[in-house]
């Protein structure tokens, strides 16, 4: 029954991935899908930058610019950054806590396929009458007036993929609460696991407001509702509140895992325990909590009045305190460590000044009175790219290099990795640093071109050149992936040699069942402790025995496909007679698949002790 180390044809591999419930394979699916969307979002960014390279440019039209801009932002946040974060969490967290899988493997697969079909649905808008064009925030006053179906694709696509995210978040919460190995107390969890835990809690609380907002918007656009239309007694500001009650926690959903990734990297390559571990945990939880109290800082200019503005300004600035704690802890982790400048470590070191710049401009934006000047200018664009690219994207690139051997069993080439790093690092600062000044000089955001003679030419040209550097860095990274896949050598358990956490104690990639015997965790940095005592492996917490595994299933794919079909039907139900029937048909597919899931008794299967022993002998590098 087990699929251990068996050669398979292409069809079988595809079927394997369509039906897999293994967190390690789902991580690869997230990585590929998120990676493709990242390239797509990057392509859109390049189109934007080419259009803005010179004044009065007509590379693309104004209307198309709005679509590209909206799809760039939406794709990058929901379809690239989020799934790539989930890729890292799936690849690492279950192994870091000494578990054999997540708590609900079936739901894990369902979460992925919902995200995937939501993303594909959103992008099909390009071919079906036009993409959404009201910005990634899709403010109701704009989006209700949008003539194409673009906004409807946005609403339904994000609804489907958001469902997947919510499911994924709940899954990780339950996994971390229930599946930790013996001895893995909360205060012994690796920092990335802690970050995943808090992030999942944020997902749990932040996504429902988005869901509600999207339902309102769907009602207004497709079913004759009027939640947001003032002419009919609605209120257009409600969307803004709902969106940002979700939207601000969302930025922490992205950046907390980034902090977690860097915490692992700093400790590993400084060969030191993370400085101030408990204050790191405290800061992470506090950031997560405060993240819910500040949403209105995106709406200072809406006219909430001075009292509201002042309160939200102060609350926002408070978040700088736990963030500062983290920055100092990372610096002190490096202090006195024996540092190795591997590719992941270079990203980590570069992250600190980049992110601090983004944090400082964040506090500037939070100063409500001053924000009247910055709002909707390129200053804001510079700010959020400093935190998002300098924080999240750097972390994802660092994490990809760091855990690549654990995911694929081969090391990415370090030389090419460093080339990518330098191209990306230089390109990033070239592109976005100058935008601070463009913004202060008055260049508005979300405008498709600018006039000559206003002092914007040089800055925009520099910014575009920088974007090409980042594109070049990405191309080198892709080449690196191809070269590594074709020519790379297999590596052992602990290819960086300084691994501290449990994932480095199992073979690369980890066997299907992760741990032949559940390990006993004897402290923070469990693997490091064993290594320091001269042991090769972990201390087992159970005798070797048969391992129970969940069966693969195609149902998650079918459930998601049903919603995808249904969304098409309802989207066109006002234009075509087939709309409603197709919509209902899709729902029947989804509900039918859920019905089958409920009535089929699925007990999973066992990998027998002998098979495990054989696989361990073959697979383990140590």
């Amino acid at each position: 029954m087990s699929t251990l180390a068996r050669k398979k044809g292409v069809g079988a591999v595809i079927w394997d991935y369509l039906t897999t419930v293994d967190h390690k394979k789902i991580a690869i699916l997230y990585l590929i899908a998120g990676g493709v969307f990242f390239l797509l979002g990057g392509l859109e960014a390049m189109i934007i930058r080419i259009q803005l390279a010179v004044p009065n440019n007509d590379f693309i039209s104004a209307g198309f610019y709005n679509e590209v801009l909206t799809m760039h932002g939406t794709t990058m946040i929901f379809l690239a950054a989020m799934p790539l974060v989930f890729a890292m969490m799936n690849a690492v967290v279950p192994i870091q806590i000494g578990a054999r899988d997540v708590a609900f493997p079936f739901l894990n697969s369902l979460g992925f396929w919902l995200f995937f079909f939501g993303g594909v649905f959103l992008n099909l808008s390009w071919f079906l009458g036009g993409a959404p064009d009201a910005g990634w925030t899709s403010y109701a006053s704009l989006s209700l007036a949008s003539p194409t179906h673009g906004i409807d694709f946005y609403v339904l696509g994000l609804q489907i993929s958001g469902l997947g995210t919510l499911i994924g978040g709940i899954n990780f919460l339950v996994t971390i609460i229930n599946m930790r190995a013996p001895g893995m107390t909360y205060m012994r969890m690796p920092m990335f696991t802690w970050a995943t835990f808090v992030t999942s809690a944020l997902i749990l609380f932040a996504f429902p407001p988005l869901t509600v907002g999207l339902i309102f918007m769907m009602m207004d656009r497709l079913f004759g509702g009027n939640f947001f239309d003032p002419a009919l007694g609605g209120n257009t500001i409600i969307w803004e509140h709902l969106f940002w009650i979700f939207g601000h926690p969302e930025v922490y959903i992205l950046v907390l895992p980034a902090f977690g990734i860097f915490s692992e990297i700093f400790a590993t390559f400084s060969r030191k325990r993370l400085f101030g571990y408990s204050s790191m945990v405290f800061a992470t939880v506090l950031i997560g909590f405060l993240g819910f109290m500040v949403w209105a800082h995106h709406m200072f200019t809406v006219g909430m009045g001075p009292i509201a503005n002042a309160i939200f300004a102060v609350a926002t600035m408070a978040i700088a305190v736990p963030t500062g704690i983290k920055i100092f802890n990372w610096l002190f982790t490096m202090w006195g460590g024996s540092i190795r400048f591997t590719t992941p470590m270079m990203y980590a070191v570069a992250f600190i000044p980049s992110f601090v710049i983004g944090g400082v401009t964040g506090v500037m934006n939070a100063t409500a009175a001053a924000d009247y000047q910055y709002h909707d200018s390129y200053f804001v664009v510079a700010h959020f790219h400093y935190v998002i690219v300098g924080g999240v994207v750097f972390a994802l690139l660092a994490g990809a290099h760091y855990w690549w051997p654990k995911m694929f069993g081969k090391m990415l080439d370090e030389k090419l990795g460093k080339v990518t790093f330098w191209l990306f690092f230089i390109g990033f600062h070239l592109t976005f640093f100058i935008q601070h000044f463009l913004g202060l000089m008055g260049m508005p955001r979300r405008v498709f071109t600018f006039l000559p003679g206003q002092g914007f030419e040089t800055g925009n040209m520099i910014s575009t050149v920088g974007a090409f550097f980042m594109a070049a860095g990405t191309v080198v990274l892709l080449a690196n992936v191809v070269i590594t896949t074709v020519k790379g050598k297999r590596v052992g358990n602990d290819p960086w040699e300084d691994g501290r956490t449990l994932e480095w104690a199992v073979s690369s990639p980890a066997p299907e069942y992760n741990f032949a015997q559940t390990p006993l965790v004897r402290g923070l940095d469990a693997y490091w402790i064993e290594k320091m005592e001269g042991k090769k492996g972990l201390t087992p917490a159970e005798p070797l025995g048969d391992i129970h595994m969940p069966n693969p299933s195609i149902l998650p794919f079918v459930i998601s496909l049903g919603l995808f079909v249904s969304a098409f039907g309802f989207l066109f139900h006002q234009d075509h007679a087939w709309g409603t029937p197709v919509g209902v048909f899709g729902l029947i597919i989804t509900l039918g698949a859920m019905f089958f899931r409920s009535i089929i008794d699925d007990h999973g299967f066992h990998i027998h002790k002998e098979e495990v022993m054989e696989a361990e002998k073959k697979g383990a590098g140590a």
Partner: protein
């Protein structure tokens, strides 16, 4: 996949568990009676002419909160050991939702 949730107690515990269960049953019946009673009061508060809406609406809300607590603690066993984390998340969610609504009512006004 996990089957570690319920380990059957050995026979010696039977006596003790009986007593425990009986006690719990008593609590459930008491709180069930109270809940029905509270519901009746709620109906009464709405029906009675002498109370204005300014009194009865907050009053009913208060009764509702009490009912939720009964429900969680006596029927969904939140008072038992091992429910600390669900409690933390529920109260966390309540605090976040409360602060958000409170902010709307006091400073934002939409």
């Amino acid at each position: 996949m996990a089957n570690h949730t319920h380990v059957q107690n050995p026979k010696v515990d039977v006596q003790y568990r009986r007593k425990k269960n009986a006690e719990e049953m008593k609590h459930q019946i008491v709180s069930f009676t109270l809940m029905i009673f509270l519901t009746l009061i709620a109906f009464f508060a709405v029906g009675y002419e002498g109370f204005s809406a300014w009194f009865s609406v907050p009053f009913i809300l208060l009764l509702a909160v009490v009912q939720v607590i009964f429900q969680l603690y006596y029927f969904m066993h939140m008072s038992h050991k091992g429910h600390e984390l669900p409690a933390l998340f529920i109260y966390g969610g309540v605090v976040v939702a409360f602060v958000t609504i409170w902010a709307f009512l006091t400073v934002v006004w939409i």
